[in-house]
């Protein structure tokens, strides 16, 4: 059995934990450079404003006080995500973080376990401890768990257990809403008279393979209840870019830890480039080897100076944080990188017109500067645009809330 735990309107929900004046109001969190809506409260959705609506079209309704906007506070969302994952680790047999607001879990097994009750308890604990409401869906496979999670969010208790025979649900679900199918395949699927998730599940393997290859065939089998989505097999889904791996031998040295993280970052960055995407930051985690599961779990949130798909730029931000994942004496069994704040590369370039967006190492000038810094010490030569002192934000985030869990200077206050 697989569970999917997914934060409801995750970014908005994180904002609301620390700003209670946002509760009950139509709130949206904006993408990088305050471009468009990427997370919306239920009240905002009820006004019929779709995901991705550009902010400039809504500016007047903000000025009038009808709508409220926040810039993406990735430091905060990353930290809240870490807290939720650490709770899940205590409560589940295994946890696989899939994106900043979603994690697959292996629930406890055994005769006396009431999964619905377990899900409700899990949800209540996350809500009380961290403050974020979640949906929890259970099903035999990840693809079905995605569907169960969707149903969970529409239920008052936030939990849904996929029925033994899900045909009724799958018949009502358009096939391009199935995880990993995508609208690109719709015309071909329609030509084969595959309209719903149930149609895909029941189609002959040869037909499915001819439309969408081995990936679609795996999806079809998962809809039929046969688990075949291995860990990390998410290449078809650009919503989540992550890379993790268990080591053959436990790693005990910081060098090994760093190398594995660098290598997974490189792999995940390559995937970003394949999809023409940039990432705003990532969560990096390391897990201790412990026989019988469990073990220490360390995780850190890294936000890049500006969205990027360049491995070297990412590593500049990640490398200084690796030390915080390392505890001498710990035997590590797994590390991983989960990117967040994804956006299309083209769109970002346009909005980034006024900031130094190009990869430094690509230009002869920066190569010369790098050489000088190498000779005379890091940071001796820098562009005035980088600013003097602590000013790492090249991204425009004019509606940024407090980074209340990662910066001492930005704590929330109480009177």
């Amino acid at each position: 059995m697989t569970g999917l735990v997914d934060g409801n309107n995750f970014f908005v929900s994180c904002e609301r934990v620390f700003d209670r004046s946002l509760v009950g109001r139509p709130v949206a969190v904006l993408s990088n450079n305050d471009g468009c809506c990427v997370s919306r409260s239920d009240e905002f959705k009820a006004l019929g404003i779709p995901m991705g609506t550009p902010y400039f079209q809504l500016r007047d309704r903000e000025a009038s006080g009808e709508l409220v906007f926040r810039s993406s506070n990735y430091e905060l969302y990353g930290d809240m995500s870490r807290r939720i994952v650490s709770l899940l680790r205590e409560e589940a047999l295994d946890v696989e973080q899939y994106s900043i607001d979603e994690a697959f879990i292996r629930p406890p097994e055994g005769a006396g376990i009431d999964l619905a009750e377990y899900g409700r308890r899990l949800r209540a604990k996350i809500l009380r401890w961290v403050g974020v409401p979640c949906g929890v869906g259970f099903a035999p496979t990840k693809t079905l768990a995605k569907i169960a999670n969707h149903a969970a969010k529409k239920r008052p208790d936030g939990v849904f257990l996929m029925p033994r025979d899900p045909t009724e649900m799958l018949s009502a679900l358009p096939v391009d809403e199935v995880w990993g199918v995508g609208s690109r395949l719709s015309p071909k699927l329609r030509a084969e008279r595959i309209f719903t998730a149930a149609d895909l599940r029941d189609a002959p393997a040869g037909v499915v393979r001819s439309v969408g290859g081995a990936t679609l065939l795996r999806t079809a089998r998962e809809l039929g209840g046969a688990p075949c989505c291995e860990d990390r097999d998410y290449d078809a889904d650009p919503d989540s870019v992550s890379c993790s791996r268990s080591f053959g031998e436990p790693v005990t040295a910081i060098e090994g830890l760093g190398e594995s993280i660098a290598s997974f970052t490189a792999q995940a960055a390559a995937k970003l480039r394949r999809h023409g995407m940039l990432a705003s930051g990532c969560n990096v985690y390391a897990q201790e080897f412990a026989s019988g599961g469990g073990g220490d779990f360390l995780e850190v949130t890294v936000v890049f100076p500006s969205p990027t798909d360049a491995t070297n730029e990412m590593m500049q931000s990640i490398r200084p944080e690796i030390g915080s994942l390392f505890v001498p004496g710990l035997r590590y069994r797994k590390t991983g990188v989960v990117f967040f704040g994804l956006e299309k590369a083209g769109a970002a370039r346009q909005m980034d017109l006024f900031s130094p967006a190009e990869s430094p190492s690509a230009s002869p000038l920066y190569r010369a500067i790098d050489a000088l810094n190498a000779k005379y010490g890091g940071g001796k030569v820098f562009s005035a645009g980088e600013g003097v002192g602590d000013q790492p934000w090249r991204m425009k985030r004019s509606r940024l809330s407090r980074r209340a869990t990662t910066r001492w200077g930005e704590l929330v206050t109480a009177r």
């Binding site: 700003d19 209670r20 807290r83 650490s86 209340a404 869990t405 206050t413 109480a414």
Partner: protein
């Protein structure tokens, strides 16, 4: 950069230190103050409404969201969208938030109004001037 000679490690002959078997990790304030990291948040005090409890302007509060409030606890709650730190009181007359300074009013919840509770204050860290 000029290369300086470095000594890496050292070799000591003789008896091992008798202190070795008593070695322990150093005391860690996190261990003392943060029992449940996933549920613990830090909040900065603004103002003097709780000076009677030793909570002063600028102090740092350790707040545990996982703990339910009991009568007499110091809590963080939201009132009209703003966070406040007060003593939680619950008795036959209902729930109220009491300041620890007579200059401030008691906040009474209206009948049927639910407290927007954030968490329980488990510690107050006061740093002296000249920090």
């Amino acid at each position: 950069m000029s290369a300086k000679p470095r000594v890496e490690g050292s070799v000591v002959a003789g008896f091992p230190s008798p202190a070795e078997q008593y070695q322990e990790p150093p005391l860690d304030l996190n261990e003392l103050l943060v029992r449940r990291p996933a549920a613990t948040f830090f909040v900065r005090v603004q103002g003097d409404s709780m000076t009677g409890e030793g909570i002063r302007d600028g102090d740092l509060l350790v707040v545990d969201r996982s703990l339910r409030p009991a009568d007499g606890d110091v809590v963080i709650a939201s009132v009209d969208g703003d966070f406040t730190v007060k003593t939680y009181r619950r008795d036959g007359s209902g729930v109220r938030l009491e300041p620890a300074n007579p200059a401030y009013p008691v906040i009474r919840l209206r009948h049927g109004q639910e407290l927007d509770y954030f968490g329980k204050v488990t510690a107050c860290i006061h740093r002296f001037a000249g920090k």
